[in-house]
């Protein structure tokens, strides 16, 4: 999985993938499929996808800055661990992440800098409780113009 692959594709005239996510059916739970032109580009739509499973989360209050940084041997597990951290931020601290910057994401390291605000429970619409971000069908693969990741969350 390389950053160079995506650059190569854009040079050959393949449309570079716009960052996006979709929620797909998965038995008793929910799947999130994420696309972006680069590996770091996957982080922002993956975050939005997780929140979309939970509901429509309104924010309130002061912004605080935060950072997620982890090293590892597997980009898929780094992505999963990051999303598990975002879920914990919501479940334990009732805060939502936004304004994400991902300076590094490769097979060995993921660093994300973001802002957080409190979730406004009065104005939020909740769909379902996400218990966990699982390891099931966890994958990141190159596609023409970028990358695609799949993550399954336990409802």
């Amino acid at each position: 999985m390389s950053f160079d692959h995506a650059i190569g594709e854009s040079k050959r005239g393949v449309a570079v993938v716009e960052p996006s996510f979709e929620i797909f059916d998965h038995t008793a739970d929910a799947g999130i499929r994420v696309r972006a032109a680069t590996l770091p580009g996957l982080i922002e739509p993956a975050t939005r996808g997780l929140y979309a499973v939970i509901g429509e989360l309104a924010e309130t209050g002061e912004e605080e800055s935060a950072r997620f940084e982890q090293t590892g041997s597997d980009a898929t597990e780094l992505l999963r661990d990051y999303l598990a951290g975002i879920l914990l931020l919501f479940e334990r601290d009732h805060r939502k992440a936004s304004t994400l910057e991902t300076p590094v994401f490769d097979d060995g390291r993921l660093a994300v800098v973001y802002r957080t605000r409190s979730v406004d429970s009065e104005k939020s619409v909740y769909y379902r409780e996400v218990k966990a971000v699982t390891y099931h069908e966890l994958a990141i693969r190159p596609i023409p113009g970028g990358y695609e990741a799949t993550v399954i969350v336990d409802i």
């Binding site: 509901g55 597990e77 914990l88 479940e91 619409v125 379902r128 409780e129 409802i155």
Partner: protein, 486 residues
Amino acid sequence: MSEKYTGPLERVDETRWRIPRSYKAGMRVDGLIYADEALVAAIKEDKSPEQVANVATLPGIVKYSLAMPDIHWGYGFCIGGVAATDPEQGGVISPGGVGYDINCGVRLLRSTLTVDDVQPRLKQLVDRLFETIPCGVGKGGVVKFARKELAALMEQGSRFVVSRGFGWDSDLEATEAHGCIPKARPDLVSDTAYDRGVDQCGTLGSGNHFLEVQFVDHVDDEKAAKALGLEKGTITVMIHSGSRGLGYQVCEDSLKDLRDVPRKYGIELPDKQLVCAPVHSSEGQRYLGAMRAAANFAWCNRQVMTHLAREVFADVFEKPAERMGMHLVYDVAHNIAKMEPYEVDGQERELCVHRKGATRAFPPGHAELADRYRPLGQPVLVPGDMGRFSYVLIGQPGSMEHTFGSSCHGAGRRLSRGAAIRASKGRSIAKELLARGVIARARGRTGLEEEQPDAYKDVINVVDVLHTAGISRKVARLKPIGVIKG
């Protein structure tokens, strides 16, 4: 979405289907699925039988990798999976064989109220239950425990909250393991898990968790129903919930801790989600200790909600819950791993029994049952769906012989959440339930749609298989009239 299963399923008899160990490299035992012909056709629609075959590769697995008739796709283990491993033979413990929601389970309260007593105030009752029992995303409980109290709660189980006024002493005897698995290790539960648990004891959660007001619609076994206090036409209350964020975090932490452990012990796994450790290893013991602590939290969770439900009934019907006979029939875990003695090849061995979406079903005479249940056998509570029925069964001797004392846990999903929502377009599930005589209240916007009756298989098909197989016998059928969901 999962593909279909195309491997072998050899019919053993009218209720059992075998996956031979020759099917897949590494299988140490056969797989055995309890189902009838009709259920088998549906079972092959996803790859859950493949998961049964994968579990059969676990070190130390004894006799069979089993699945109950409500089998469907899970993480590592299928839902409905049962597997016993022998620690003395290098047997492993796997968090995938328990699930994220450690000790998700069900309890049932009975009463002397009848449908005629409740119907005139049913809407008020359901509304009050909905207001009083915290449910849904982000809903904290009415009870908060300091860290030291949480640690004591996880060590003592239900006894801790009952001693603080959240229930009756008699509730303990009517709870599996008396509401406490010994040798729990709250010291092995992470700070993050504590943080998530601090205000979640006594909360329902969301998804397929529910509190249901029901009535005894049909009695199959008059003697057993009478012994359990389940008279036809009387009102019952069923609560389905688990260990909440604390338990999910214990599983999350354990899966991370165990990531590289199979390699350390030379264990090859066909599926990363079967991550495991030998029971006798330090890693295995750490998971077991933390899991027990989370399981004890779950029993306290259901116990506090029991107390809250009794208070609501007392308020609505203007008499104490004791005078309405609101006793606990039983409480069962259906996501758990427990050390239990079984006879294997003529020798008694202490096995690690994983039940992932499966319920303990001890027969009459079992030493672990409280005195009042020992002559009868252990009640097995099987929720169906909120439109049709739930069931009360009794454990039979066949369970000890064939399924490591286990039975089914529910109906099993038929439709994915997305498919259920699409099928709801243009419909009001709440109105449809009302037409069936069920008042439903849900906090989540998509809760009723995702959990509608059509999303589930018919529980009668599931319980009939195990009744025929001599695993658990039907006692009574319960029909919902009110339900609250997160």
